[in-house]
Structure formats: C-alpha cells, structure tokens
Symmetry: D2
Subunit: 343 residues, 4 copies
C-alpha cells in the first residue's frame, strides 16, 4: 500500500493545467534563454498582477539558485545580508551565500520571523560601531513569506521592515518559495501588489506551488541590476530552453490560478491542525499556512512511519519527537482524513 | 509563415517518449532531490550502458552548471583547467569557472580540438618552470565531444590525451552537451564505453539531445568526490523534484534511444553539407556532426533572414558572413529540403 | 602634551633587538619569498621551541591574512569553521572568511571562549541532522589564545577541545595574535609545546608582540597542505623580501625573548586591574592578560579622553561606557602610574 | 666569496634614508591602520607630486596584493580585466585575479606591451558579439610601466590606450611595481603627473624601488571606490601598523628621491647592455630600464652560475639559455664591472 505523502510540498509533478501547457507547446520552436513569446507574455502578466508594470521578471529554476544569484548581484563585496537565524539561506543552502563571498548576518527570529526592531538595531549597531570598517556592512534584508515555520508577516509588519530598509537605504528581498500558501491563507493580508510595493525584489515560488520547477523573480522597479542576465549565466543558472519557465508561469497565472492554487493545502492543513488540537496534541508553532509542526510520542511515531511520509524536525526528549506534516496544492480531503485516522 | 529553425539544437521541447514519461509519472509522489526510484533506475541503466558499474551518476539541469560545479569540485584553489581557446568554458559561460575561483588555462586548438601534444607541453612547461609556485597549476583537462565546431576526437586521439593525463596524474573531463550527435555520426569511433574507460568524468547531454532539460554527469569510478551532493546544492544546482531528471533520462536510455536519437540530425546535416558543397559553397569547418558552418554573401544572407533562423558566427569581410546551421533530433527531411531551396 | 597610549598593542614600532636585527642585515642580498638563511634559521628555532621538529613554519604579514589563507587552505568548499560568536574571524575581519567562500559557524562563547561541549554539540547536531547534506559541514575549529576578551584557555580546556576535534577528525587551529601575553601571564599553564601537541596549526603573533609586523604560522606536523606557498601567493600574502620576517622572528626567538617579551604588559595590566578594583571600578571581564575592560561614567570618560588613548567598547547606559585599556611589551610602570592617577 | 646579485630587484633591504626614517620613528605611538600623521603626510606629498590633489592614496604591502584588491574592487562580477598575455596578473600571481572571481582577458602583447589597437579590438569584439551576454565583459584595462620585459610605454602610446578606455567608459589601471626604473630611464617621457592624468588608478612601487616593502596605490580622482578600506581588510591586506608604510613613503618622496632612486639601476643596466652588445651577445628584448635579457651558451652559463645570482628565463635550445640580469637602486659600478668581466 502506498504511503500517505505529507513529507513536503515538492513530491509530485505539475498541476494539470501547467503540464497541459507544456505538452501543447512541446513541438514549438522558439529562441532559447527566455527570449521567447511565452516568457514575454508570462512576465507581462506577472507584472500586471503585481501592479508594477515597470518592474522586471527573471525566471530561474530553483529557490536556492534565485537566492544565491540575486543576493550576489545586489551586494557589494564588503556587504552581507541580514536574515533570521532560521532562514533558509542561513541554514539549508549548504553555504551558497558564503560561496558567493557574502556573510549572512543573523538576527534571532521569532517563529522564523525577523522583526523591524531587530533589523533596525542590527543596522544601527553597525553604523554606531567605531570599528565598522573592519566589519561586514548590512547590505540588504532577506525574509521569507511564509517563513520556514509557515508563519506569516502581516502587512503592517512588512511595512515596518520596509520602512527600516528605506531609511537605511538598503534593499528588501522576500523569498516566496511557498508564496501561494501565504496568498491562500485566511490570516494573510499581504497581496502580490503589497509585496511589489514594499520590497525591492521578491520571488514567486513555482516549484512548491504547482510547477515542475521554476521561480519568478520580480524586481519591483526601484532599482535595476545591470547585466543580471550574464550573472545568471555565470552562476550556471540560465535555462537553455527558457520557454519552459514562461509556458509554466503563463499557465500558473492564467485566470488567477496562482492565488487559488494553495487553497487545498490550506484547507487540509487547517483540518489537520483542528483535529490534532481537539485530540490534545501540542502544535509547536501556530502556523497558518501549509505546514503543521506537531510533537508525537514514540509509539505514534512508529505507527506513522509505517503509513506516512513526514519530515523529522527534532528529537524533543527520549520519548517525543517533533515532526512536520506538509500539505500542498494536490493534497485531497480523502488523504487527509486517512492521515488523521492514525492520530 | 513560420520560419525554418536551424539556429540551434535547443529550440523545441522534448522527444515524444521523454514527454510521455513525464506525463505518465506526473501524479506520482516521490522523495525530492533525486532520492527516488526513477533516478536510481536511470543511473543504473546509464552506468550499464557505459560499462562502468562502479561509477556514479549525478543529474544536473544544464551544461554550464555541470561544468562549473564539477570543475570547482575537482580543482584545488591553486589549480586551473586546461582547455582549448575556443572551449565553451573559456568563452561562453560568462566566466563561470573564474567565478568559482579557477583559471582556464587555454591552449590553441585546431578546429576546436585540443591535441595530446599541446596538453603535454602545457603540463611540462608548468613543471619545468622555476617560478611554477607563482603560477596556476594545471589540475585537470577539459574537452568537448563533439567540440564547439562540431568536430570529433577519434578514439586514438582520446587515448593519447587520456594517457597524457594519467602520466601527469590529473583527471580528464569531457563535456558531452551534444554527445548524441557524436554517437550518431558515421565518422565517430568513440563509444560511451570508451568515454567511460578513457575519462575520469564526462557528461551525457540531454538538453540538446531530446530532453526538456538535463545532463547526466558520469564519474567513471576512478575517483569519488566526497560530499558532491552538498557542492551541487551550494551552487544552487540541486533540482527539488530531482525525479524529473530520472524520468527523462530513463526514457532517453530505454532501448538504446540515446544512441539513435541523433541520427536525423546527422542525416540532415549531411544532406545540407553535400548540397552546399555541390553548389560551390565554402564550408568553414569540416564538421561530421550536427553543425554546418558556411560562408554566404550579403544577398543570400538577407534572403535566408526572411525564411530561416540561423546563428551568426562572424563577419568574414564586407560582403560575406559565416553562419551556422544546426540540425537536431527533430529535424525533418522536408524542412531540410525547404532550407536547401534557398541556397 | 602627548597622550598616554593604552588604545591597543600595535601602536609602536619594533622591540629594540628586532629593529637592530633589521638594521644590521639591511645590506645583505638574499633570495626573495622566504627562501633565505634568516627564514630557515628562524623556522628551525621556532619548531625547536615548540618541540615539533617535523612541523612547518610559514611567515605571513598579518593576522587576518593568516586566518584567511589558512582556513581557506584547510577547508573544502562545503565546509565551515567553528568559532565563538565574538571571534575575530566572526566579527572583525570584514568578512574575509566568507570572501574565501566559507561560513563561520558560530557558537555562543563565554567571555570569548569556546567550550569543548559546545563544539561537540555543534558537530553532533550536524552529523545527526537528516538534512545535513543541505547544510555547511563543520570542517575545523578556530579559537584564540588569549581570546578577544583577554581570557585564557587552560591546558585542560584545550586538551578537551583537542580531543573533540580528533574524535571528529577535524583540525584545531589557534589564533595567537597576542600569544606572548598568554605566555607571560602567571595564570597561564599552556606552553608553546602544549600548543604544538594539541593543535594542528597555530600562529605565533608578532605584530602585537614586538615586531614591526609578522606572524609565524606553525603547522604542527599532523597534516601538510600541498602547495600552501602558491595559496599564500594567490591571496596576495607573499612578502617579496620574505627575509624581513625571518630576521625579525629570529630576533624574537633568540634567548627565549618571545616568552619574556609580554611581561611588562602583564605586570602593568595587573597594576591597573588591582588599582581599579581597589577603587571600586567594575571590571567587565576577569582577564588575566594585557587587556583591561572597565566601565566608567561620563565625567571620567571625558577626563580620560583628554589624556589617554583608549578603545571604546560599548555604551552600557546613558551614563556609563565600557572601555578597553591595552598594555603591551613597551608599556612602562611610569606611564601606568600616570594613567592610574586619572582614575 | 659572496656572489654578485643580479637575480632581481628585491634582494636587499631598504634605502638608507628609508631605514633611517623607520629607526627614528620606531618609538612613536600612533593609531593603527594608516590613520596616522606619517601616512597623511606621505599621501599628501604623493598626490602633490602626481598633480592630483583630489585623488586618494592607499598604502598596501605588495604588488600582487594591490592588483588583487583593486581589480576585485573595480570589477563587477560579470567583468574581466584586459591584460597582455605576459602580464604579471596573467602569469605570475598564482591565479589571484581568478581567486577573486574574475577572468583575465589576454591580448597578445609585443615585448610585454598592450597596444591601443588590440584593446580597442577586444572591446569592440565583445560589443559586436551577438552572444556577448554569455561572455565576460571587459571591465578595465591593466598594464605595467615598465612591463615584465622592462619595456616602456611612450606618453603617446599611453594617451592612445587611455583614449580607448575613456571612449569605452572603462578604467585604466597601471601596475608600477618598478615605476622608479621607468622614471629614471632617459627613453622615458611619461611623468608621474602624466600617469595621474591618463589613468584611473596606478601604483607606485616601493618594494623593488628602495623600501623594505610597500606600494602606494593612487586613485587619480576620476572615481572613488566606496568602502575600499573594508575591501583591503577583507583581503587580509590591511597592515596593523600602517604608519610603517607612511614613514617609508614619506622618506621615498622627500626631495624627489623617488624620481632619482632608479638612476644607478639604469646606468648600470645600460653599461651591461652596451658591453654585451659590443661583445656580440644577443639581447632578447631591447629594454630601456633595469632588466637585461641575454642569451648565453652552456659554458658561460656554468661560469656565471659559480659567481652570479641571475634569473633563468627559458631554454632556447640544447646549447643556449636566456637569462635575466636585473639591476636595482643599490647596484654599484664596481659590482657591474665584476659581472662584466665574466662575459
């Protein structure tokens, strides 16, 4: 019997409409490297949706890749990027930012979130330090929406961080690997237009949100990065058949699909959370998106292991373990019900 | 009227059998990052075909990416990579090797090819130089089969270069972005098994040879690179849904498809070359694979421009231009005939 | 009236015996890059003193340079270096380690010191993490003797950390920018021989301990780094007239000068600490070497500012500031007495 | 009997006036990192001499270091530096430029010199290439005065290259490791003021021209590099006792010493060249500065080896070898006469 898949949100292929678009366009001949009609149309639609027609969109293959290329392109050699201590770039990118020559300047986060106050203090500490020229200068701010723990920045929180960045004259960049799951969450009050208005750059995650692969980096128009195309190439991040990204994102943004595609994930995650709470389980983080962090005892852990793919988070004590259950755009109510029978 | 597409070999989607495999497996849930059954099966089949069961296969997305990650993983900081002056890594990767901290040590090539003699001399010059510790040490040799100009190394030539490398104790690596077109060429006498026997690593090109995207890096077993997975991740080169590469390569290696897939390209390129020669055109390089380099006058160039996508190579003089016509696995006899009517 | 100099330990030129040696040898012609008799003799004497005749010594110009070159030479690209959060490489080298592509993996230190327990936990956390291949691997341990706060590792503490490193198979490296001040401290029980026995590499600081400039990196013999000379050159760290370093270190190690040279610093720092404690000042760190950290009120701070060069550490509150007073090999009892009159 | 030293121009210590300045200032206490009166005065004097009071001067320790730090600071990641194929940065810096992530774009030089025509063609080739965004963009031009072969750019040649650079909007940088020997050569018509007027940056070599160590990088005022100090630190290139550089350069620029200091080198090199030509020796390069390249037969080579330190250049054939004899500021007529007796 096949296991129930709640280990992560990149375990299946593409949303049917996306796959369909790839199949239908397969025999078309187009120029390479994104210089094709599909990419152009998709970029236009994304900028329209984000309300920033003067911005630019670059399509890349994966999230770590976007982070590495963009951060390296924005920062000068003497600068680093401020991030939460649990940030993907700080922990789970195998040192990709440092490989590019830059320090990740970590602030203690709360449930994965940076605060405007912590960012302001870090910038001010640098500016005030008599030895600052011997230190790494904060050159940009990185955060994720949703965060690694599935938590969300409110519009107000994002405005505050954005204001701190603008006061300091440094760009704000948001990693949106799971952005569709933020947009689909009832608790969320940050739209794509808000993202474009409040940041200098952000990426709209595709890999975890319905595509085979692909992320759309939106430069919101405040600043251009000259020769960014060459920097993508230099990082080995330029897709020869760039149109694959255009075709997929065009499908993902048709008729507002992107803003709806996360809903099954959110609904099923909500079901899981509700039931687990009812049954007295402790949820480690109060996450409103598609990730549920729950602590289970050894007996249950073994039972789950036989039937469910989940993610191990950490051993809490001899008898308990925190695990993560992730839903996604393809999660069904039926599978969720099966999962919940095990608790 | 749609143009005739002879600009390059990455202008369309995937071979039907490859696309079909992606569609059929789309709803399957698998672990990420290549730890799935499709990848395992594809790797096994590739190693079997190459006759090196003790080797390892890593799937990556694109060619520049493979080159950058592998070369960086093999070389120590004080080493560089020997390559022909026209090599892809020397000219057309936007400095990806240097971005990784390494010098490309160029030898003058002949029609894109390195000679064993030139490699031996470069290594010996380093060893003999009293100032060698102030210089970049040759740490590996890079070549392409076929080369940038579509030319081929014979088995004997490859054996000679391989022998030079082994004498010097440095690895030999072959870029096979268009390897299928070498394998399908009647002039070719180098099999995949020969490649595995004579090199330390080589990659089997997928992007230009029937896949949506993807390259299979074969480490032939002579040396392992510890933590190569982490280095792939660090370069932003790890595909989350790694199984997409496994699925595609499994289809590409089923029933020997890879060794056949280049044939239409070779046959149609041969047709083009034969006709052009008959009509008195000068072919700049005598290339036995899927690229035809021909010099045309301005009048013809304009006529072609209206009907054909081709690649500009260089302005020869006021009146003449060298262009490249590339065929591929999907090129048809009909389209080729249409093209030839224009000459 | 000239100010009293207690801002740091690199404010003057060289110890008279060192300067004298430079003057006496000035007209001698020698080969460059350290291939001269002075360097050879100095290296031999250092290895003899450290009791590791099979080790190697490399002379470099400054401390950040030694750290950057050595750490880059030891680590593989996927590895980082464990250090205390207050370590020089973590805070005050302008990102030199990250510039070389490596992450500094910080542990919370106590008064600048790493504990064996924290190091062991960091290594174990990496090994135990299911996602470790997406993370930076601990590849070496860095610590300073004395630390940034002037504190000392006891021999037992160093043995414990050394044992953790050997269990884990990773090298231990000690930054000895101020090592002479450790050796001269009565509280110290770690000799140069102990350093050589317990570490894989450490450097003997010259710049802050009597030389015009220069640090002696001792590789204790456990592992050699091939082509380290080329890596020094590649970092722009190779001194053309390398013999200047040999001449200075020869003088510094003659008749045990290095082990005595820190004594005036220690004696005068002890005087300062004793008096300040007597007068009720709060010493922020109980440092047994040549740095005194004291909190003063605004009135005193202003008075000091008129007469003394000191280092600003941090603003404690509206009315108080923590400052650092550093003594050095050339500090005299008279100047110290003058300083103390101001408190 | 001590050998005659003609191997290079960095085999002795400092010019007596320079050493004297170091001795006299040894006991002075100053702030570190170049923030002292000696550095300020020396910088002012250098800018005055160069006629660019709005420029900036940075003191570094060695030539490879200056090249690596400056080139890295000027170039954006997608850019490379144009240089002659024999340039120091292209051959003898162990890959320091590539270590910083940048390609050296080599042009074939003539006797070590770049021509304006070659630079213009390389820039134009890039601009004209349809694939230029896949290539490394020329971002600056590097040349040496004198070159590796001791040859000189005339003022007219330098004006031409400077004009090409300004047309293209890219900076021109000159490596002046041996600049004093250019200034002292009768054939030279390029003054320090010309250098400042025609370049964006150049460095005035100290190590080979009378100092213990040290190079003065002059940014001529056309462009500032923000936070260059931090980048120096990040490269491990910041001297703690920065005043040592100020003291030395102050002495070197006192009463025009720098413009005179190369004279003995030039006079003695001229003697050597005249005599060798008279005696029928073939001089490989017609070098007007302090390096003489001469081809000798095996018998003479052995005789020289017993009495003279020289530099091996290359084996010309079985019976002949090209060697280099370098004079310097301290070379005497007596030693030169002794040398010439051997030919």
């Amino acid at each position: 019997m096949e296991k129930l898949h709640f280990a992560s949100d990149y375990m299946e292929g593409a949303h049917p409409q996306v796959l369909d678009a790839l199949v239908k366009t397969n025999n078309r001949s187009t120029p390479g490297y994104g210089d094709d009609e599909f990419c152009k149309a998709a970029k236009k639609e994304i900028l329209r949706t984000c309300g920033c027609p003067d911005g630019e969109v670059y399509f890349l293959v994966g999230g770590t890749q976007v982070n590495a290329v963009l951060i390296d392109a924005i920062l000068r050699p003497y600068q680093g990027v401020i991030a939460a201590d649990t940030a993907h770039i700080a922990v789970h990118e195998a040192g990709a930012i440092e490989y590019g020559g830059h320090k990740v300047l970590v602030c203690e986060g709360e449930e994965g979130k940076l605060s405007a106050r912590a960012v302001r203090r870090m910038i001010r500490d640098y500016v005030d330090d008599a030895n600052r020229e011997h230190m790494v200068m904060p050159g940009m701010v990185y955060l994720s929406q949703p965060t690694e723990y599935g938590t969300l920045y409110s519009k107000e929180e994002l405005e505050d961080i954005s204001a701190v960045c603008r006061d300091a004259g440094i760009p704000l960049y948001v990693d949106g690997a799971r952005l569709a799951y933020a947009l689909a969450a009832p608790e969320n009050d940050v739209t794509l237009e808000d993202m474009a208005a409040l940041t200098d750059a952000f990426y709209i995650g595709g890999t975890k949100c319905g595509l085979l692969f692909g992320e759309a980096l939106v430069m919101t128009g405040r600043s251009k990065i000259p020769h960014f195309f060459s920097m993508i190439k230099q990082h080995g991040a330029l897709l020869a058949k760039g149109r694959l990204l255009g075709v997929q994102f065009q499908a993902l943004f048709q008729d507002g699909l992107y803003e709806r595609i996360g809903m099954p994930a959110i609904e099923n995650a909500a079901r899981i959370k509700r039931k687990l709470r009812e049954r007295g389980y402790e949820l480690a983080v109060d996450s409103p998106t598609n990730q549920v962090f729950v602590t289970v005892d050894n007996a249950l852990l073994q039972r789950l292991g036989e039937r469910v793919e989940y993610s191990f988070m950490e051993k809490v004590d001899e008898d308990h373990t925190m695990i993560r259950l992730a839903t996604c755009w393809s999660t069904t109510e039926e599978k969720t019900a099966e999962l919940l029978k095990l608790f």
